[in-house]
């Protein structure tokens, strides 16, 4: 019944989460709607103003930050709320649970970004002269954001009153990555001849490091 291989377990956790989200599509729609609305609010604020590309890069990451956070509440919290965490604890290794949930969060964040980023490019006229650099920056930045967000979700999954503490903890942990992402995006949307390779590596390194640390420490949070 239960797969013994940790990787298979992680895949099983991932598939379970995906199936549950797809079955209960209401919450998925709500997450998407929230992200799109935060984008539209931003667009209303800017309106027809001609703002410089540097500012647009910052606004893009504000929207993506909200997108990463709105999806977050689903990953670990749901298990505690529906009382299914006990079953998971019995059948799966904690590291596999973490890996599966982090992967699901990553897919969710990318799914939101696939819809939100094109709307942003159209409505705020984000320059796309360097599509490859821009895509690389956004993908690596989203990886860093989603990894950090998963780690935060794991830390606070066991405690009550999560809503408020989410932002309080997520903000300082994600901010360094966010700043680097903004800087790299500014390079990608302006005619700057700097290379974004270094920043992309930095963002990927951030994501890998935080995932490794969080996965290694997750068993301590998970066992009661």
């Amino acid at each position: 019944m239960t797969p013994q291989n940790p990787v298979q377990q992680a895949v099983a956790v991932f598939r379970k989460d995906l199936r549950m989200e797809l079955r209960n599509r209401g919450s998925l729609n709500a997450i998407l709607l929230f992200s799109v609305i935060s984008l539209i609010v931003m667009a209303f604020g800017v309106g027809n103003l001609e703002i410089i590309a540097h500012l647009k890069a910052g606004l893009l990451w504000v929207v993506l930050f909200f997108a990463a956070f709105s999806g977050l509440s689903h990953v670990f919290v749901q298990e505690e709320e529906t009382g299914t965490s006990l079953a998971l604890k019995m059948h799966a290794r904690p590291e596999s649970v973490y890996a599966g949930k982090a992967a699901f969060n990553l897919v969710l964040t990318f799914g939101i970004a696939v819809i939100v980023v094109p709307i942003f490019v159209i409505m705020l006229k984000l320059p796309t002269e360097k599509p490859i650099a821009l895509a690389a920056v956004i993908i690596s930045g989203l990886f860093a954001l989603s990894s950090g967000a998963s780690a935060v979700a794991a830390i606070i999954s066991q405690s009550r009153g999560k809503g408020a503490i989410f932002g309080a903890i997520g903000f300082p942990i994600l901010l360094p990555a966010l700043m680097v992402g903004v800087r790299a995006t500014q390079i990608a949307v302006t005619s700057s001849d700097e290379s974004v390779v270094r920043t992309v590596f930095g963002l990927v390194a951030f994501g890998v490091m935080i995932t490794t640390v969080a996965a290694a420490l997750f068993p301590i949070l998970w066992d009661d």
């Binding site: 903890i169 942990i173 700043m179 920043t199 301590i220």
Partner: protein, 251 residues
């Protein structure tokens, strides 16, 4: 202040520790001398060639003598907290309950004092920046980092505040401290290279390279920093004793 050691309580073993009477007296004298030296002795900070690094022209710029130790202690607090988080995890793996409680409390004290000192560093830094660089906030990378570090400490305190169960609180605290090391490393090593130059770098390099002549160096490293470290140790022990008393009261 000499208190008999409590025979029954393993949690109460700090009374025989460092900050005794002489510790307080030395701290008091050290800080007083620092303040007098800062105002009466130290003039503009010159390098070996005779050009000023800091003019210390406005009186407010003297605050640098309180800014540097606060910033240094603030960042050290993070390292101290992380070390105690690791020792909590090791005690947990070995199943030593008292060592776990001790390490968790020390982790918490380090983070709380870190919040205090990073707030002080931010405020004194703003005063210094206004006097020396002309604006309270310059978006210098170091200013940005101390702000984020401040939020990292504040998040720990907030996280600790919302959890009532002591075991869960300790586990969450240790894991949070260690996860937050990653953004800390990022801030320290990667961000300055990507975001750009800092106004701090040159003088700091000069200090490490011992290029600065005059009273500044002696005052900073001979008086101010040691006094602040002694003050920090005293405060650390006080807060630790306070937390242990609270714990005993609730137990």
């Amino acid at each position: 202040m000499a208190v008999g050691n409590a025979p029954n309580s393993q949690l109460n073993n700090v009374n025989s520790s460092i900050p005794g009477l002489w510790w307080k007296i030395l701290t008091g004298i050290g800080m007083t001398l620092t303040i007098l030296a800062v105002y009466l002795v130290v003039g503009p900070v010159l390098n070996k060639v005779g050009q000023p690094f800091y003019t210390l022209g406005g009186h407010g710029a003297k605050v640098i003598f309180f800014h540097v130790p606060c910033a240094w202690l603030g960042s050290q607090c993070y390292i101290i907290g992380a070390c105690y988080a690791v020792s909590y995890l090791r005690a947990r793996a070995r199943g030593e309950r008292f060592a776990m409680v001790e390490a968790d409390l020390k982790n918490a004290v380090a983070m709380e004092l870190g919040l205090l000192f990073s707030v002080l560093a931010t405020i004194t830094g703003m005063v210094f920046a206004k006097n020396e660089w002309g604006a309270y906030w310059n978006w210098d990378p170091r200013q940005t980092s101390i702000l984020i570090i401040m939020f990292l400490f504040a998040a720990y305190v907030a996280l600790r505040g919302i959890v009532a169960d002591p075991d869960l609180r300790a586990r969450q605290g240790a894991v949070y401290t260690l996860v937050a090391v990653v953004p800390g490393i990022f801030l320290y090593f990667i961000l300055p290279r990507i975001v750009g130059d800092t106004m701090h770098a040159e003088p700091n390099k000069a200090l490490i390279g011992r290029q600065i002549s005059g009273n500044y160096m002696y005052t900073m490293y001979g008086l101010t920093l040691p006094s602040f470290i002694m003050l920090f140790v005293w405060m650390f022990q006080l807060r630790l004793r306070q937390m242990k008393l609270e714990l005993r009261k609730s137990a």
